[in-house]
Amino acid sequence: MSDAVSEPATDGRVVLDSRDISRALTRISHEILERNRDAEDLVLLGLHTRGVPLAKRIAARIEAAEGHPVAHGALDVTMYRDDLRTHPTRAPHHTEIPPGGIDGKTVVLVDDVLFSGRTVRAALDALADYGRPAVVRLAVLVDRGHRQLPIRADHVGKNLPTARSERVGLRLEETDGIDEVRIVELEGVTA
């Protein structure tokens, strides 16, 4: 649940197909490795919903490159959101912190679309309740701009300048059966 408007879309135009997504994830994986020579201290945490499969994919790529597994898990930020009271109650997802914990580790938060930055803000709060990482970084598949908080990503798959009237819809093989990112015009204009 990266933000309220990144629901999967089947209309609009495709801006990233499965090959683009694959290449972007490979590049992010290598960037993460370059920044953290020692993959031993690395923990990848996917943010629900679609950050979780992305974190798994990045972990698999790093493992393929380095020859040993990298710790990864899932972080649910539902309870830490600042808009809990303006929505009907949402059920929390499962948080899975790897057995080694996050104390002293380099934690890379992985999400699908970076938009307002509020999900990441909530994730930073949630992390603090699980321990004290040495470093926290952020990797996102798509950065669509329009930040509302002083937050930026360290690793970006694709910068996608968008209008506020547009919606970025991301679908993934694991959750939706297909890999693609679409941009959908929200008001009026339909194909």
Binding site: M79, R85, T89, A91, D129
Partner: protein
Amino acid sequence: MTRHLLSIDDVSAEEIQQLFATAAEMHDVQKREVKKLPALRGRTVINLFFEDSTRTRSSFEIAGKWLSADVINLSAKGSSASKGESLRDTVLTVTAMGVDGLVMRHSASGAAHQVAGWLDIPVINAGDGMHEHPTQALLDGYTLQRQLGSPGSLEGKRIAIVGDLTHSRVFRSNVKSLGKLGASVVAVAPPTLMPSGIAEWAKADGFATSYTLDDVLPEVDAVMMLRVQRERMSGGYFPTSREYTVGYGLTRQRLGLLRDGVPILHPGPMNRGLEISPEAADAASSRILDQVSAGVAIRMSVLYHLLAGEESA
């Protein structure tokens, strides 16, 4: 999700599973170093208890605090209720202080329901007389689902509920809740402690009844013992407590009738030696303390679902 939780009737089978799923996440919080979630920050919950309670009240208190709510406990003893204030005036007074949710226990059946009609904040029934105790039934169902390794339902599981059925709100809530979870319930009690009209009720709600504990024990997947509620008994429901134990207590000898590892539940407080023997209460298969820890998780889940979202704002 429902606005109030007054009865198991307020939640569907699907909503119960949703409450369980959230409770499982809350259960993980109990193992964390920082046992605190910010979900109810700035909200105030009042625990209004007109009847004695240890575990229910303290677990609602812990649940509220772990969700960052401010929790106020008020018991009738020492409150204005003992000076003759009416129930309506008491609840209107305490909620006028700016409370966002009310957890209430009362000795009168239907009290929580009545109070919910006077207030525009969510009301959670923490036990009303001989009527219902929905969060207890939810934590029992949650414990059983985890124990019997059947996520998503208790389909095909046979569960005995044994003891003082007449006075038991835990029984009434559990019959509904276990039924919704797909379990088949067999209610066991001496004839004098069977609620009147239970035959029609059993037919309507699809559960079985029995007067003979020894016949039931070998065939069940779990057994839930109920407390003999002496405080609600005015007369001769059974001749002596010794005779009750011989007929309906989970004694050391009766433990042998259960299949291996069949979980033993008791909502507490226990009358050791009356309805449950120390051997049963402390057996490896006893899940009584798991029920207590599940109680916090379930109450966190209920408070979260009723108080965190916009509808309660």
